[in-house]
Structure formats: C-alpha cells, structure tokens
C-alpha cells in the first residue's frame, strides 16, 4: 500500500525540525534558563543560600546605586555613539555612493574596522591614547595643539568620550554598508526630476534621499542601539569601567557581577533588563519610523 504523502505543513516542520531543535537547545533554553536563574538568589560563593526569591532581584534594582549609575552611563553612551554613528555613517555613505577614482579603495578601508574584534579594537585605541607613547599625543604635540603629553583617559569626561569614539570606529562600517545599500536603491530619475524642479542639494537630500533611507536608518538605529547598549569588550580593555564609574556601562556591570562576583541571580536580572530596554527602544523606533514609509515586515 503506498505511503500517504505528508502534507505541506508536516513536511515543513519535518524539514525544519533539526534547526528548531538546535536553536531550542542552544538559544531558547539558555535564554529561558537565565530568566529562571534571575528569579533566584544564586551566588556561587554561597551555594547553600540558593533559593527562589521571585522578582526580588528585579525589585532590588530600584535602589541599586551601581545599577542606576551604570544605566545612566549606558543611556548617555548609547546617545553619543548613536549620534556620531548616524551622522558619520550617513556622510560616508553619501560620499561612497558617488562615482570617483579610488572609491573601491576607500570602501575597503572604511570596512576595515568592522573586521576587528572588540578586544583588539580596545587594545589598539589604548595604544593610541597612551599617556606616554600614544600616537594621539604625538600627533597633537607635533601639530602644536598641546604643550605636552596628556593622560586622555584619566578624566571622567575624557574617558567617556574617547571610549565612545572607539566604539563608533568599530561599528561604523556596518551602518555605512546598510545606508549605502539603501542609497543604491533610490532611482536616479527622482534626483533628475528634483533637479528639473530646481531643488537644491539640501532639498534633494531632505525630499528624496531621506524618505528612501527611512528603513535602512531604522535598521541602523535598532542594531546600533543594541550594540552600544551591550558594549563591553572595547570599554573593558580601554578603561575597565573607570575612572571611578565614568565608563561602567550596564553590560560591564553585568559581566563583572556574574563572572567576578559570581552572582548569577542578580547578573541574570541585569541581562534581562538590558534585553527589555533594547526591546522597548526598538519598538519605539519602529513605531516612530514605520509610518514614514512603506515598511514591510
């Protein structure tokens, strides 16, 4: 008797089953487990004190000075990184969208930082910002802009700014690629028509380019917000979170809480708050920009 053929639904599930199983094991289970851990008092230094405490870890965050301070640092870090990334990426993408000699080389150079791991990026910038032998000091001294070598990372403001710049340098290429891809989809006829209508450069940018870049920009905003909010390796290498708490972001505090203090319960709660905040911000972006174009999900 011939075997009854599988329906499309069954076949689809069967074919996807291996991937679903792997994703469930490697992604869904750890995520779910981390939430379960966040509901416990779970510090490896006190295994006997481990117990279910419900939402206490989350409630304790409202009067957790270290958490609140790191949240402020992270929020400011995201704003600064995002502002610089969007402006610089847009500028670079507009330049690279033009046809000129050496464009390929410039494009390759612009993409280079993206290939650099965060730790290496941190180490490189630490060398550049070094107070004794740093290239930045050498350059500024030779240009006569500073009298002597400066310790750039020793003031709270300086450390914060330079750390943010190091992060921008590392993540900028991704945004450039997204925006460049968006620019490539804009029909040239629109610009021709705008020129016939005597629209200037700024007007063409505002009336033609920007509306077409709404969706690529949305992707850039969402992903760069997530990146900046979760920034860890560059900051860890560059300043360790200092001076004081000036560059202690929520991600840095989280890693320290889990791996140095071995407080897995509280650390997991931090991680979920990070997830929740990035989710809310992402929804905010979509709500804001969705209506401004024919965005399709």
């Amino acid at each position: 008797m011939p075997r009854k053929p599988w329906s499309d639904n069954v076949r689809a599930y069967a074919l996807n089953a291996p991937a679903i199983i792997v994703i469930s094991l490697l992604v869904a289970y750890p995520i779910g487990y981390s939430f379960w851990v966040s509901l416990h008092r779970d510090n490896l230094k006190q295994p006997l004190a481990k117990r279910f405490i419900g939402l206490d870890n989350y409630l304790s965050l409202f009067h957790d000075d270290a958490f609140l301070a790191s949240l402020r640092v992270s929020a400011l870090f995201v704003l600064v990184v995002l502002a610089f990334t969007v402006v610089l990426a847009m500028t670079l993408a507009l330049v690279l969208n033009e046809t000129f000699r050496g464009r390929g080389l410039l494009l390759s150079l612009a993409l280079l930082p993206w290939a650099m791991p965060g730790v290496v990026n941190g180490l490189m910038w630490r060398t550049v910002f070094d107070a004794k032998t740093g290239a930045l000091n050498g350059l500024l001294t030779q240009l006569g802009l500073v009298d002597g070598y400066q310790a750039w990372l020793t003031s709270g403001t300086g450390a914060f700014f330079f750390t943010a710049m190091a992060q921008v340098w590392n993540t900028l290429p991704f945004s450039v690629i997204i925006l460049l891809a968006g620019l490539a989809t804009i029909p040239s006829e629109l610009y021709d028509a705008a020129k016939v209508d005597r629209a200037g450069v700024l007007r063409r940018f505002g009336q033609v380019t920007m509306p077409w870049l709404t969706h690529p920009l949305l992707i850039v905003l969402i992903l760069e917000t997530m990146n900046a909010f979760r920034a860890f390796d560059t900051i860890y290498v560059l300043t360790g979170g200092g001076p004081g708490s000036a560059t202690t972001t929520i991600a840095l505090l989280d890693v320290r809480t889990v791996l140095t203090y071995t407080d897995f319960g509280l650390g997991s709660a931090y991680a979920w708050v990070i997830t929740l905040i990035t989710l809310v911000v992402s929804i905010g972006y979509i709500a804001l920009l969705y209506r401004r174009g024919n965005f399709e999900v």
Binding site: L44, K45, D130, K132, A151, T154, P243, G244, T260, Y261
Partner: protein, 439 residues
C-alpha cells in the same frame, strides 16, 4: 562498488555530531577521561611553568599533565565559568582573594590529612599558612608569597641629592618634589591604578605601613569610624596627584606590565610594588636602569614604617577531580617538599624570577642568599617579610566586591572627584551593604 550517497553522508555527519556531543557531555567533573591531570594557572611565565612540569613528567612517568595557561586578567572569570560548566581543572592556581569564595562554591577540596601537607604548613610563615586556611581547613600548597615595598631609582635620587630613600609619605613628597623641580622627572611617582580584576596591593601597603587597618578582625569596617589611617592615606594620595602633582595622572591608565616597562625605562623614580619586581628591574638584559633600582620599607604617615601587606598564591585541588592521587602528587611537587626535603619548585621560582618563598628555611639557603644579593638588599627584603601581614577580610565572600569598589573610590580620590572623607564614607557604606547582602 556502492556509491557514497548524499543520504549516507548526512547519516555519517549526524553520527559525528552526536558522538562529539555525547563526548562533550561526558567530560564534566574534571579530568580528561584518560587519566591526564588537567592543570591550569594564570599565564605568568608559562614557558617556565611548562619547563618545570616537564621535569615532573620525567620524574613521574606514569602521570601525564595537561597544562593550560590562562591570561591573568581573565583567570578568575574563566575558572569560574569552567567550574560552573562542570569542566574545571584537577589542579589549579588560586589567588588568596578567591579562596573563600571558591571553597564556598564547592570548587576546591581540603588537603588536610594528605601526605606532606602538615609538614609544609609547619615550615612556612604563619601568615601564609593562615591565608591558605579557611574555616579551619587547609586548601592550598604555596606557590609564592610576596610583600609590597617601596621601589626607587637610586640614581635619580642621587642626582636630586638624596642618599637614602624616604621613610614617611611626607618625605616621599619632599623628595619627589625636589626631583620634579630639578627637572629630572615631571612625575616621579607611578602606580598601577587602572581598573582591573587584580587587587591593588599598594593601597593596602600604604595603609598597613601607616599602622592602620580597614577592618577589625570580625570584618567590621573601621576605616570611617575608628581608624582614620585610610582617610589620611587617601588625603596624601589626593595631594600627591592634584596638589604637589608628583604622582603621575597617567597612573589611571597603567596596568602592571606597562608600569614595569616605565620603571625599567627610568620614567619614574618611585613606585610601590612586589619585592620580586626588583629581580626584573635589575636585570641588565631587560632593564635600562639595572643595578640602580633598590627596595625600601613602604613609607607611612608616621616617621617609621609600621609594616606592609603580603599576599599568598597557592595551588589548589579540585573538589571533583577524578584523578586525585595523581593531582596530589603534582601539587606536592609544585608546592611541597621533594624527596631531598627541599621545596624544589619554590626555590626554582625564586632562582628564576625572584618570586618570594613561603618556606622559612629557604631564607638561609646559600643559593637563595647569593641570588638575592644580586637584585636586592637581603636585610630589607627579610624585614619586609617579617613585618608583612595579610588582609583580614580575605575570608569573607564579599571581599572581591569590596576590593573592586575600593579601586573606583581611589580613582575618584586621585582625580579629585571625591574627598578622602567621602571616599571612606563610601567604602564604609559599601562594606556595610555587602555584609547585609551576604548575611
């Protein structure tokens, strides 16, 4: 001949993945499954460690050791991650800072009753034995110990007209100011003050040298209420960094290795560091200032130094090791006596790199004495060992969190973002909150 179909290839690939997965699942609990002793340590002189382990392998042909050096900055995190994943090593380095936490976490097992352990504990400095003991049980065999000292460049001091090192912090400021005003160095004092996961020994050293304590023996913080020493040391630090400007602001960007390089390049006249650093600083092959670097007692707030701080690094035994006998043999080789009743590895490290020894008898060993004279004054070296004591909060589970907070607070003092009063008040509150949290 049968064709090797795509279906068969997929089956084989699936088998391979399954086998790897099952093999990985079965690897937990320490040991590699073939009787090899898995040994891990931070990456200080990994080649020398391997050289010493090769000797162990020649002496113990039935024991195979797999050694993994882990970068120092990540050591604690990586070991915690491994033990959490039930894949910890059989034997490992342990910081005294981590001991209490790792015992409480169930990573380590006590060594009491094992052959030779009691002999070792009877032969080492009491402060080291005490540091390796937690709740009455012995958990470590000694790797090395060291005390903090003032390290100074005698040539620079000589150029400024000084023939002896400073005995107090005020004198240190005066000498540093003279060096600065004479145009010899812009910032004569350098410290390691970048945030990291290792302890800031020099802060504890300055407090102990001034006769103070941060905690009472019952772990109650006294730095705000009863003992003003820490506050006064912080005041000196703030002034040195911001008023007299003799302490390099770049210290906030300095980790231990860059500081060593700066010292060996003659960029600083003073620092506070471990005694063994002198071995490298005075090595002509590595240092431009070899032969000019000296050690002295850590200056304090009073005219005479009241002591210094010591640390103990040890070898520990995993609680879940499947190769206990072999691992114990390795531990004994590394941290105990050999058949000739010589603490071979402790002596090896001193001779090779000047790492301080915990075995009191080694101080009289002719080889050790001769080697010591090449890089340090034996009298001062010994005095530092005798006046040093350990931090009395190492056995609380919240020590690491307090230490991390202290780093931030000291950075705020150095950058004049916090007054000494506010700094000690903040630390006092931190200690109180941590005690409550862990109670």
């Amino acid at each position: 001949m049968n064709a090797f179909t795509r279906r068969e290839a997929l089956k084989l690939a699936g088998l391979g993945v399954s086998a790897s997965f099952l093999a990985a699942c079965g690897e937990g609990g320490g040991g590699s499954g073939d009787g090899t002793v898995r040994f891990e340590g931070w990456d200080y002189e990994a080649q020398l460690v391997q050289q010493n382990l090769d000797r162990f392998a020649r002496l113990n042909k039935d024991i195979r050791v797999s050694y993994t050096p882990i970068t120092s900055a990540q050591y604690v995190q990586k070991v915690v991650a491994e033990f959490t994943g039930d894949a910890g090593p059989d034997a490992l380095y342990v910081y005294d800072d981590s001991l209490a936490g790792w015992v409480e976490a169930g990573y380590l097992q006590p060594l009491d009753g094992l052959a030779g352990v009691a002999d070792v504990y009877d032969s080492i400095y009491p402060s080291n034995a005490e540091t390796m003991t937690y709740k009455g049980k012995r958990y470590g065999l000694p790797y090395y110990t060291d005390s903090q000292c003032l390290i100074y460049n005698a040539e620079i001091l000589g150029k400024a007209g000084f023939t002896t090192p400073p005995k107090s912090l005020d004198e240190l400021t005066r000498q540093a100011l003279k060096i600065k005003n004479d145009g010899l160095l812009e910032y004569p004092i350098g410290m390691t003050a970048q945030l990291s996961d290792t302890w800031w020994a020099w802060v504890w050293g300055l407090v102990f040298a001034s006769g103070g304590e941060m905690f009472a023996d019952d772990h109650t913080p006294v730095l705000k209420s009863k003992d003003p020493t820490t506050k006064n040391v912080f005041a000196w630090l703030r002034d040195a960094a911001n008023k007299s400007k003799v302490l390099d602001p770049a210290s906030l960007q300095l980790l231990p290795v860059p500081l060593d390089n700066a010292m060996m390049a003659g960029q600083y006249a003073f620092t506070i560091g471990a005694r063994y650093a002198l071995r490298t600083y005075n090595d002509p092959a590595k240092s431009k200032v070899a032969g000019r670097m000296k050690l002295a007692l850590v200056p304090g707030l009073e005219d005479e130094s009241k002591g210094t701080v010591s640390n103990t690094r040890m070898y520990g035994l995993s609680a879940n090791t499947q190769v206990k006998d072999k691992a114990v043999k390795l531990l004994t080789y590394l941290g105990g006596y050999d058949r000739d009743k010589v603490p071979y590895t402790a002596k090896f490290w001193f001779m090779q790199r000047g790492l301080g020894f915990t075995f009191t008898d080694l101080a009289k060993d002719p080889d050790v004495v001769a080697a010591l004279k090449k890089f340090a004054d034996p009298v001062v070296y010994q005095e530092l060992a005798e006046t040093a004591h350990a931090r009395n909060v190492l056995d609380v589970p919240w020590y690491t969190e307090f230490e991390t907070e202290m780093h931030k607070v000291v950075q705020q003092v150095l950058t004049d973002q916090a007054t000494p009063e506010a700094a000690v008040a903040s630390l006092d509150k931190t200690a109180g909150d941590l005690k409550k949290k862990y109670s």
